[in-house]
Amino acid sequence: MTKSSYRVTSDGIDTEALLSEVGNAAAGATTLFVGTTRNENEGRIVERLEYEVYESMALEEMRRIGEEIARRWRVIAVSMVHRVGVVPIGQASVAVAISAAHREEAFAACRYGIDTLKATVPIWKKEFYRGGEHWVGPCHAHGATV
């Protein structure tokens, strides 16, 4: 039985709360990944970042990722949170926390969680930089520069 929590929020991400959420007396190993907005991407100075979300599907997709994690590894708890709206540079936009009895599982599950989240959860990032804006995605041809 894996404990889980999935959230989309327009507030700052509280990593301490996330860590205590996955805390458990049987958990020997906790891993946390935090993705932070950077001031630079592909040589452009990013001034502002905004995330758009398809919220109902994003939450369902996170839950599917959590269920897949629970199937593949012996984890105790999974928490995922993604911030949306304007995220100031240097602040966390996404975090995944995992607790498990052992670190092997905790690392593998956390890595799978963030990789899959970034590949499948319907959240889009728009970068605003000097002289333009740009929807970020694997296919950069889709970006629009103004």
């Binding site: 398809y54 319907p122 959240i123 990032k125 694997p138 889709h142």
Partner: protein
Amino acid sequence: MRIRVLFFAYLRERCGVREADVELPEGASVDELWSRLVTRFPALPAAPPRFAVNRVYVDKGHPLHDNDEFALIPPVSGGTQ
């Protein structure tokens, strides 16, 4: 049947809509809906994005049902590197 179509991110901006309703004959598939959308929204790219029906990714052969929630999912970029 009526399908509710959702647009996000750059597709929302290019098409200038957040959502649209599309009438389709019973038994139509995602593929047929996409053809209909390309005609109605010429700003849509030639290469289709990913599709979701009722918040689950589907492929283009997926059959649609009345009141389905259909979403065009441009390349996602949750979080940062």
